[in-house]
Amino acid sequence: MELTKNITLGVYLPGETIIHRLDPRTKIIAATILIVMLLLSRSYIAYAAVAFFIAMIIVISAIPMGYALRGLKPMLPVLLLMWIFQLFLFRDSDTLVLFNWWIFEATEAGLHMGNLIILRVLFLFTVTTLLTLTTSVVSLTDGLENLLNPLRKVGVPSQELVMTLVIALRFVMILAEELEKIIKAQMARGVAFDQGNFIQKTKKIFPVFLPLFVSAFKRAEELIIAMESRSYTGGKGRTKMKTLHISRADLTAAITILIFTGLMIYINIATEPFI
C-alpha cells in the first residue's frame, strides 16, 4: 500500500546539474515556451522533436528516465478513455471512415485528434514535472514572483497568486499521504480496496473522501495559523533572502530554447498537420 510512490508532480529531486543551477526564471520561461509550442503543434514530427528535446533535458539533469516518466502511469487509463472518445465522437465532414461499431463510427480525423490530445497531455505533464523536479519550492516561488511582479502595477496580487500556486503544488503530495493513511485505516477495518469488480471498487472510494476533505481543511487551517503567527500579511513589504541573477548557463539555455523554437515553427510550417 504505497500511493505516494507514483507521484512526481511537485516533488523536488535535489541535484547539482546545470539544469538544477539555472535561474528559476529561465526554467519557467523555457517551460512556458515549450508548453505553448506543444499546444500549437499539429504535426507528429514536431512532437518527435519535442520528445527528443525533453529527453535531452532529462538526461542532462541526471533524473532517472523511469522516475521522470513515472507520474504518467496513473494517468494512462484516463488518457485511453479520452482517446476512445475522440476516436468515435470527433466529427469532420470530409474525413475517411476507418470502421463502424454499433452506432459509432471511427474516423481518421478522430484518430488524429485522439493521438494529439494524448501527446499534448503527456508532454505538458512531463514538462511541468521536470520543472518541479529540478527547481526547489523556494526558487520556484522567487522566480514566479519576479516574473509576475510587473503585473502588480495593474493591481494583480502576484505574490499571493504565486503563494497559492506553490501551496497547491505542495499539497499534491500531502493529500496523497493523507489519502494513503485513510485508505489504510479503512483497510484495517475490513474494506478490501484491492478486491471486487470496477463498480464495487468505485463504491469503496466514496467513504474515503469525507475524511480526506476534513483533513484537507484542517491542514489548510493549520497552515493559515502557522503563516499568520509568522506575521505573513501577503506580498506587501516582503523582501527576499536570495537575489536572483542571470549566469552564463542561463544565456546558453536561452539560446538553446530560441533555436529550438525556430526549429519548431519551421517544422509546423513546412509539414502538413498529422504527418
Binding site: M1, I182, K184, Q186, M187, A188, R189, G190, S215
Partner: protein
C-alpha cells in the same frame, strides 16, 4: 493466534531516487496473550513493522505468518485476517470517518456480513469496554469528542471486529495524564480479562515499563533487544546510546545507586521502588 516474522525486510519508494530501506532482516515470534512493548527512536521502523502484522504492508522480502497463514499468499483472506489483528492508528482522525460515534464503531462489523442486531450488540459491547456510555455517545458527532474520547472511540471501532491481537501505535501521544491513564486501564483490562495479545508501540518508556512483559527494541530498522522488560531496562547504557529515554523509576534508582544505596536490579513500578528504597534506608540505618 501466534505471529511469526521471518527475515523480514522492507523498503519504501522502490524504484525511485527516494528509495530507502526501513527494515533489515527482522525475525521474531509472538505467542498468544503476550503483552509486547515495541520501542525505538522516531523513524526506527516501528510503525512499518507493526503494519506488517495486519497485512497493511505485504512482505516482498521475508515472510510473516499470522496463525500459520502467510500474508503474502494470494489465498489468504486478508479481510478476515485484518479483523483478527486489530490496528489502532497513531492519529484517531484518520480512523474515524463516519458522522457519529455509533456508526463509526459499526463500520468494521458491517463489513463482516453480520445481522443488524448483532452489529448493534458488538457496538454496545465495545463501547462499554472502552468506557464510552452507549446512550450518551452513540449519536454523538465525531467532531464533538475530546482527544481522549476520540482515542477510545477509535479503539472501540477496532474492538468491534473482535480481534485476537491488538496492535496499538502510540495511542497515548498527546493525551493529558488523566486521558492517558484511562486509555491504559482499558488496554490492561483487555489483556488481562480477554487474553488479547497486545503489541504496544510507544514513545513513553514509563508506560511500556509498567505494562509490557516483553520488550522489543528497534533501531534503524533492526532489532537491538528482545527480552523480558526488566532485562531490557537493566541495559541502561545501551538504551541511552540508541537515543531512548529511561523510565523515571529506573533513572531515580540509578541515581540512588550511584549515591551509594544498595538497590536490587529490575525494579519497574513505583510501589516496588518505594519498598526497595525503604529497605535500603533501614539497612543503612542499621549500620550506623
Amino acid at each position: 493466534m501466534p505471529i511469526e516474522v521471518i527475515n523480514l525486510s522492507h523498503s519504501y519508494k522502490i524504484g525511485t531516487p527516494f528509495e530507502h530501506k526501513v527494515l533489515h532482516n527482522i525475525s521474531l515470534s509472538i505467542k498468544d496473550s503476550q503483552f509486547v512493548g515495541i520501542i525505538g527512536p522516531t523513524r526506527s521502523g516501528k510503525t512499518t513493522l507493526a503494519q506488517h502484522f495486519n497485512a497493511l504492508h505485504i512482505p516482498k522480502q521475508g515472510k510473516i505468518l499470522i496463525d500459520n497463514e502467510d500474508t503474502a499468499d494470494k489465498k489468504t483472506d486478508l479481510v478476515k485476517l485484518r479483523h483478527r489483528v486489530g490496528y489502532v492508528f497513531q492519529n484517531p482522525d484518520y480512523q474515524l470517518f463516519a458522522p457519529t460515534v455509533g456508526e463509526d464503531i459499526a463500520f468494521g462489523p458491517s463489513h463482516q456480513k453480520l445481522h443488524r442486531t448483532e452489529i448493534d450488540k458488538l457496538v454496545q459491547e465495545s463501547m462499554h469496554q472502552v468506557g464510552l456510555d452507549f446512550d450518551t455517545f452513540r449519536n454523538r458527532d465525531i467532531f464533538a469528542l475530546s482527544g481522549g474520547q476520540k482515542r477510545r472511540a477509535a479503539i472501540a471501532g477496532v474492538l468491534a471486529c473482535r480481534p485476537k491481537v491488538l496492535v496499538l501505535d502510540d495511542i497515548t501521544a498527546g493525551l493529558d495524564p488523566r486521558g492517558r491513564e484511562e486509555i491504559l486501564n482499558v488496554i490492561k483490562d483487555l489483556h488481562q480479562n480477554q487474553k488479547i495479545t497486545i503489541l504496544f508501540i510507544s514513545n513513553s518508556m514509563d508506560e511500556v515499563a509498567l505494562l509490557a512483559e516483553r520488550i522489543i527494541v528497534i533501531d534503524q530498522g533492526m532489532i537491538k533487544m528482545d527480552d523480558l522488560t526488566r532485562n531490557v531496562f537493566a541495559r541502561t547504557e545501551e538504551l541511552r546510546s540508541i537515543g531512548l529515554e529511561l523510565p523515571e523509576v529506573t533513572v531515580a534508582l540509578e541515581n540512588l545507586r550511584s549515591a551509594g544505596f544498595h538497590l536490587p536490579n529490575g525494579i519497574l513500578s513505583v510501589d516496588e521502588a518505594i519498598e526497595a528504597i525503604a529497605a535500603a534506608l533501614q539497612e543503612k540505618g542499621a549500620h550506623h
